[in-house]
Symmetry: D2
Amino acid sequence: MNKDRNYIFEMPMKVRDYEVDSEGIVNNAVYLHYLEHTRHEFCEWAGLSFREMHSRGIDPVLSKVTVEYKHPLGLGQRFVSKLGLGRRGPLFVFRQDLFTEDGNPVVRADVEVACIENGRLTRGLPLVEAFGKYLEEK
Amino acid sequence: MNKDRNYIFEMPMKVRDYEVDSEGIVNNAVYLHYLEHTRHEFCEWAGLSFREMHSRGIDPVLSKVTVEYKHPLGLGQRFVSKLGLGRRGPLFVFRQDLFTEDGNPVVRADVEVACIENGRLTRGLPLVEAFGKYLEEK
Amino acid sequence: MNKDRNYIFEMPMKVRDYEVDSEGIVNNAVYLHYLEHTRHEFCEWAGLSFREMHSRGIDPVLSKVTVEYKHPLGLGQRFVSKLGLGRRGPLFVFRQDLFTEDGNPVVRADVEVACIENGRLTRGLPLVEAFGKYLEEK
Amino acid sequence: MNKDRNYIFEMPMKVRDYEVDSEGIVNNAVYLHYLEHTRHEFCEWAGLSFREMHSRGIDPVLSKVTVEYKHPLGLGQRFVSKLGLGRRGPLFVFRQDLFTEDGNPVVRADVEVACIENGRLTRGLPLVEAFGKYLEEK
């Protein structure tokens, strides 16, 4: 839908009523929950869950998130969460977009993740190995 | 304010806008966050924080919560959270009430907490020792 | 699974990682979100969503919630949310239980809902009409 | 603390235990709640709350958020939330930073807010009037 984004994973989601605030739209912080849940579902689907990473001494940590809010979601609305994966130096960059069922953009986000192994910042080679085939560029 | 309740701790709080849902009132689950935060602040104030309990191998776990919703809170509203502490058999019972600044009841709750030490249910003697002087009856 | 409960609706759910707290288990307030979401999905499925009720001047409000915590859910765990519906005087009582995939009880809850029509407490006849066939007893 | 930021408002805050996730640190989305709460407290303090704006037909909406995560907060930690206010074209830009009590950076964020009046994007003149003296540049 965004021509510059190569999605490798997508999942349908639906707004839960408690996620909507007094203005009748999904609260701005809740979109970060949607994005996080999508990343974790992707990792599980790709074969290396956050739980497994943690048990191996690998902790992916967020270093930067940029979110553009395009159009708000409301009560009970269904939407689609799409994800692409690239690199910027040692960082992993999740390109994550949400769309309405009609394909209208809801949120466009870039999520930069650093890899901490046993307390030290690394290039995250175990993750490159696990997710290599999904990376946009190598 | 409730004659049958002996409060031993209270703290002022204020609704944060993101806690209010599309009906313009604080979402029902958020009151449990208020109650939990009050319990943890009480424990810290009484000299034994949840972090310390955990590091000593003591894990208080909720076994039952009863909440009566009296009058909803709205955007930006200030309120007071009050807490009493009793026992029911091996359980600790937190009697927790929220009131508006005018003293009107918002929520009336009983929160039963079991004490797990090193994986086993106990009578929570270290907690009785720490909180003994605050217990309603012994 | 609970012999004394006649379920009329159930849905599969899965823990999202951000719902788990520092003790590695789902935070106690989050279960109320699960229960609320299930009620709203039931109402939508039964043909009368909370949005429609509200637009007709009907506002169901929680009056009391009793939750027994049986066994905690953890990271990424799947579970099933089941719902029955009865009455207690003018109130609707949602009997809501959560189970692990193996059928072990997670949470057992009774949720009492009052019906406010145009600002006044009523017996909720429009809801009785909509949900009548699902009510345990009449 | 950040020399390039002119703060006009600050408030002390404290992590609530339910905001911490299974990794023992505040969940990434929760920082957006801290930032939102700070903006709303600032507006109330400056004399024009979000409730009043809404009642006048003015709805500030987020258009973009950029968050850099510097150092995570943990259980029970106190921190300070600081806010500056500038403009970028028709947008208001809240420069919002969180610091530990020792002055170490936790989060550095830019929050762009558009002003919708009666359904149309405007330059937000009522807000310029209300917040003019706090704007970095005019």
